[in-house]
Amino acid sequence: MRNLVLGALCTYLLGCVDASQQQANEKSQGLVYCAEANPVSFNPQVTTTGSTIDLIASQLYDTLISIDPETAEFKPELATSWAVSDEGKSITFTLRQGVAFHSTDYFRPSRTLNADDVVFSFSRLFDVYNPYHFVGDAEYPYFQSVGIDQLIRKVVKVDEYTVRFELFNAESSFLSNIATDFAVILSQEYAQQLIAQKNKPAFDNLPIGTGPYKYKNFLRDNLIRYHRNEQYWKYPVPMQQLVFDITTNGTSRIAKMLTKECDITAHPSATQLSVLKDREDIRVDKAANLNIGYWAFNTERPPFDSLLVRKALAHSVDFDKIMQAVYYGNGILARSHLPPSSWAFQAQDNIPRYNPELAKQFLKEAGYENGFNMTLWAMPVSRIYNPNARKMAELIQSDLKAIGISAQIIEYEWNTFVERIGKHEHDSVLLGWAADTPDPDNFFSPLLSCTATFSGKNPANWCHPEFDLLLTQALDTTDIALRKTYYYQAQQMLIDQLPLIPIAHGVRFQATSNDVTGVTLRPFGGISLGQVRRN
């Protein structure tokens, strides 16, 4: 009997040794990234939500060209070369050959990427005859806010591997827009298969791209699972599996980092960085990032339609305190709408500073000396430009109280929040913008143009024709000096009109397990996890 027990014990122990090796092996083939929110969609064309772009864009898709984060020059991706002719009104891309689309259990591609796919992907954005244009209510917020439908005349297939974009007029930011994470190339063959199956809405939920990973499954509030794309054209993908663990709570993300349930964590909160710094097996990377956190007013709604009220609000808040309490010294106090690292940046001297007396005076002039009630929407997730909007909202709330305004803080789940802001249900909102390209236009057109108001991406609900004219003028020329003067004027106008108050430019943090390499932080756009590996 005793022998039997001993024997069983031995086998168990041996099994354990064997098992732990196996476990190490299993773990080394997959990687867990702790993300802060559910994706809104699996097609980057239909969203500008940064948390979604992080999860889907570079992982599942490729773009025609990209921007080198160091030199800010265009790099070939799916297009091997491109030529601009006809005074910038015609751009011809030569496509890479032999690029395979994902082969999954819901789609098996019969051909590699060709010009049809490129024409299909771009025509969906503006061509009403594209069968997919109206899928998902024809909302392409990024492209609509940069006015792509008034820009591209047509996309022509020249031959199997050549595509020509014909524009109505030359626009200096066109190539940058083509290089954003939103301008992905989708499979036309897959689109046709879904039409045959009468299941068009699935197109944006069951993605097929050419990127380093392919979609496996998504459980809301739980996880997204990707598998390696064995046929990736660019490099052999090291990891067998990439899993996004959706953990909305920032503290939980850090805790999971400590328990090794996450290998990489997005946006660890600055207050808790000290916990991670003591650990030798975790490193925290910090990178400058082109972004702006702001407080926007719904300028169509009284009393925020009054410039005096907006000025009063801007003068009533102590932003230095916010810098300490929310950014913990890891941000830059905004001196304009653009971040200082942008080439068109100009510090605005008359940016409103904390002065409650002046604020009261403005309120009095506007006829609101007894104050009013307002809602203050605080984004529920932590993003680069605003690590803790709730706390910021509380600080602003107490400052507003001092000048007699009572603010009610409103929070929703992130995707609901974005949707409701898009419908302009708010009085004022704490939000932000992280750039997708280094082009300064990216901070203006997608955010504050009149077209952005219509597509629901303009948080200030602010449409100012003169401002739009400045943006158009800046885009119509490629002369950098001239563009700069237009953008200087645009920045000045924003501070004069105050549709939103720029608060700060945040720094991107990322906590990574020490055995994981290959994660690079870019100053703009989403993250790319194609080359991460475990050593």
């Binding site: 099994g15 064997d18 098992a19 196996q22 476990q23 299993e26 773990k27 083939q29 997959g30 867990v32 209510d137 496996k216 459980l219 809301r220 509030d221 739980n222 996880l223 699972r225 599996q241 899993v243 663990d245 953990t247 939980s252 805790a255 999971k256 400590l258 328990t259 090794k260 349930e261 929703y412 789940e413 995707n415 609901t416």
Partner: protein, 344 residues
């Protein structure tokens, strides 16, 4: 006799389900927002869609018709779509409920396995040190709020010692196809993939939530068993047995236990409703993908169809569980069947 009792119980069940569905139905009117949206979960539908929905939900007819249509939909599994995910509420419920159930069953199992023996030991050594130790431990366990206990355990076992994972049902890198939605069963069905590691990992994930959730029912069962045993040990037939010279072990095992456990069995079933409530808290803390966490998220997101569906599912389950507990109790204890006749 038993049949009559069953009939009475079933009529009570029908009445309770009726009240529950009326309440859930009226929620559609009580929630803010558009009635049709609350019913269906469809937002921003265009004119023709609205017409179709209005017809389907009998919006323009009287309340009775609407309620009738509501019942038909509930019975056929059409619970509307969630506002936040756009997926069918029924699908959500059927995917998430097993996870909660699994947690509750294991916790109850632990509670029974620990609580009843501890209660017996405490009564056997009445007013001596084992009784005192068990009693004070029980009191402590009873008084600790479980969210605090959960955080404490996470602090110690997850963050300091790194012994257990702190969230989810299984390491995310293990791919387990959901078949029954009970994770351990699913792993077993699929033949223990990853050399049994997935199973082991699932057990590790279960450990802390189970302990936390089991804490309250365990203490209740300990106290109940102990009191019931003490009561039985006072009875004359026990005294007689003792006078005959039976030792303590014989006394407890052969004579006292069977009678003492009867009220405990009923108590086990009744614990289920408390357990579901506590499971919600546990799920939120341990990110357990169950119905409680989903329901709380839905409330936070003001996802009315989801709140309705979740409430309906949970309360329906609690009613059924209570019913089953009482029924099984009456099977073991024929005397209890008579009590419904209203003794003073």
């Amino acid at each position: 006799m038993l049949f009559e009792y069953l009939l009475r119980r079933i009529s009570l069940l029908v009445f309770m389900v009726f009240t529950l569905t009326v309440f859930t139905f009226s929620l559609n009117y009580l929630f803010p927002g558009d009635l049709l949206t609350n019913f269906s979960g469809q937002v921003n539908s265009n004119y023709s869609q609205t017409q179709i929905l209005a017809q389907k939900y009998h919006i323009n007819e009287n309340l009775l018709m609407q309620y009738g249509a509501f019942l038909v939909r509930i019975a056929s599994g059409d619970w509307g779509v969630s506002l936040s995910s756009g997926q069918s509420v029924f699908e959500h419920v059927s995917r998430l409920f097993p996870a909660t159930l699994e947690l509750c069953v294991y916790a109850l199992g632990v509670a029974v396995l620990l609580g009843i023996p501890a209660g017996i030991v405490a009564s056997a050594y009445h007013r001596r040190w084992p009784d005192r130790v068990i009693n004070s431990l029980t009191l402590m366990g009873f008084s600790i709020p479980i969210f605090w206990l959960a955080l404490l355990l996470i602090m110690v076992f997850c963050l300091s010692f790194g012994l257990f994972p702190m969230s989810g049902r299984i390491g995310l890198l293990y791919e387990i196809e959901p078949i029954s939605n009970f994770i351990l069963i699913d792993i077993a069905i699929q033949g223990f993939p990853y050399h049994g590691l997935a199973f082991f990992d699932a057990l590790r994930h279960l450990a802390l939530p189970t302990v936390v959730l089991a804490m309250y029912p365990t203490t209740v069962l300990v106290r109940f068993t102990r009191d019931s045993m003490l009561h039985v040990l006072e009875q004359n037939y026990i005294k007689t047995a003792r006078a005959k010279g039976l030792n303590r072990r014989q006394l407890i095992l052969h004579h006292a236990l069977r009678n003492a456990l009867l009220p405990v069995i009923k108590q086990i079933g009744l614990q289920f409703s408390t357990l579901i409530t506590l499971a919600m808290v546990t799920e939120v803390i341990f990110s357990w993908p169950g119905i409680g966490r989903w329901l709380i998220d839905s409330i936070y997101q003001r996802d009315y169809p989801a709140i309705q569906g979740g409430l309906l599912a949970v309360s329906m389950f609690v009613i059924l569980a209570n019913m089953l507990a009482e029924f099984s109790h009456s099977l073991f204890d024929p005397l209890s069947r008579n009590q419904a006749y209203g003794k003073v």
